[in-house]
Amino acid sequence: MTATVPPLAEVASSASTLRAFLHGLPGVDQVGADQRAAMLGTRSIKTTSKQWALDLAIRMVDLTTLEGADTPGKVRALCAKARRPDPTDATCPPAAAVCVYPSMVATAADALRGTGIHVASVATAFPSGQAPLDVKLADTRAAVKAGADEIDMVINRGAFLSGRYLEVYEEIVAVKEACGDAHLKVILETGELATYDNVRRASWLGMLAGGDFIKTSTGKVQPAATLPVTLVMLEAVRDFKAATGVAVGVKPAGGIRTAKDAIKYLVTVNETAGEEWLSPDRFRFGASTLLNDLLMQRAKMATGRYWGPDYVTLD
């Protein structure tokens, strides 16, 4: 349930106050941020903590298919995988959500009915966002109507990079309104923002405008999610909570392929935003191949043997 008036609304009362606020945020030293992320990546997570982390990571996966060639059959197969990731082990938890294009939402909603697994839909002319605002809002409303619990929108990077922050802000507010009861994830497309200072500013923009989650990437642009970028976003949500009392979630998406990587992200969450964020309500992985590697590692811990790709399903 989100506030009807976004927190710190006075900061967006004009283009210049919003700009002054965003540019007044502390800078990010790129080398320092990279090194902090790298150090967090050296944490050694073994035995019981590894088992716990693997299960949590599985529960945080937004299992994703965003291809032109998606069909109802493909989406139904993915939903079955989200419900029962490991056909040989019923103790394996389900994924958090399935993430699809708006045209596939109805199929997914149907396949996931009663499971508790959310239906997330991309919207707002994903991935580029290059469309008129009314088209982007219609895209959003259609997805919600078809049954989406969560909307993953893209911010207007062209406006952001040319300094039109208030325009970016107002678009997010409009999309949030179009979401109704659905949760909104705001995709920053960090690969296009290029600097960590921009990532910090865009994170705050997304949160000030009422986003429930901030998300790194569409996965269609390289680089997608990286550990340092996610670190900067976690710092932003931590600071936002301290300033406003509102907790916003973080979702890195794209480029997270191995269980080892996923665990590094969980360590980073743990030591940056804190344990309150170690939950699918506050942290998600936007991924597709990651799930199979999580399953293989989970199985190795249970059976003591390394698995191979023949033993996990390809959907």
């Binding site: 502390p26 800078g27 990010v28 030293d29 080398v31 320092g32 941020a33 090194q35 902090r36 050296t42 944490r43 050694s44 997570i45 073994k46 035995t47 019981t48 903590s49 590894k50 716990w52 982390a53 710092e235 969980l266 360590v267 743990n270 030591e271 344990e275 170690l278």
Partner: protein, 476 residues
Amino acid sequence: MAFEYAPAPESRAVVDLRESYGLFIDGSFVDSKDGEPFKTINPATEEVLAEVVAASSADVDRAVAAARRAFETSWGRLPGRERAKYLYRLARIIQERARELAVLESLDNGKPIRESRDVDVPLVAAHFFYYAGWADKLKYAGFGPDPRPLGVAAQVIPWNFPLLMLAWKIAPALATGNTVVLKPAETTPLTALVFAEICQQAELPPGTVNIVTGAGDTGRLLVEHEGVDKVAFTGSTEVGRAIARSVAGSRKKVTLELGGKAANIVFDDAPIDQAVEGIVNGIFFNQGHVCCAGSRLLVQESVTDELMASLKRRMAQLRVGDPLDKNTDIGAINSAAQLARIRELSDAGSAEGAEAWSPPCELPDRGFWFAPTVFTGVSQAHRIAREEIFGPVLSVLTFRTPAEAVEKANNTPYGLSAGVWTDKGSRILAIADKLRAGVVWANTFNKFDPTSPFGGYKESGYGREGGRHGLEGYLA
């Protein structure tokens, strides 16, 4: 506690500890004739690791004589090209035995395995690689067309980075054609003794490197020996003074790398999250047993509250414990004596009116431990702002203007290092210009590289180690 990290111990099996070690003189391990044996312990558990011996006057004589012989007949006669290849061998073997050396260092010193594995040992290898390359290029170093070595170097090193300090001493000395007699600290002799084995594996000419273990007495015998041409010492300012006095009027060249009380200056426009990392790294890395530790935080008054809140939040995440656990951030204090000193100064801090804060910490029963601590309300007159604590204790002072920051930073007999945190480039350069410190870190801290000269102003010593400048102290 949601995400408990399970124990992730590094195995000790890679280390092959002997029950006792002799001295390494003239290419072999030999027994001391009349030296007293003593034990070296693991400061995290107080278990005995091995027995070593305090080299006596006769032992030091032997070692110096062996070094002299090697200087005159073998090592000292080699062309630079061949010295280079020996040093490359040493570097390679260090890389090959990296894990063993890292584990042994953590056992003997108390520092976390993550540090010895990721920082100490790689830098050790890198120093040997770097100086290997200078051995046959001395005429390009800027010290004349044909720089000559000094002869026999007496080298005494501290316990805080045992193998790294050995590398900082031995690599440039050998590269320039000198031979050495080195005394490791009495609480951390073991990696030096394994280094002696590595010298054997590299087939280094006997007498080129000699290792004599012992304490203050052995160090004094070595440094005051008539047969020594050069003295290189890293340790306390107090002992540095004594050495400087003892070589007065002699032919011995001296370089000293002594204590520090570095100011870490944070301006209101600093990148806060990275500044907090830098502060934490500056004083808690290696348990604060660092001569260049950022032990005084000078924070601009306008951002003090925000910075302190972030700093305390970050300190609460520091993991204190078993040095061999890969997730440990802060290990054991090196000795009972050092722990007593840290406690004494910390108590003085509270007594003088500063306010101490430590995050809740479960410290093991056995071993020597001190929780990371920050004192606020510290002023320049307090003992904890003037004296080197050499432990995980940070003193926080405030300033209003850049000029005041510089004044306070320089207001100390020491001058080893300093840190500056600001987003403004010209300010970094202006402040760096005015700081009387041999190393200035801007928007970073505790960065070391074999190519980068390190050393102090004023009572932090003289001479530089690392880089082209590091050759100078070993050339005539």
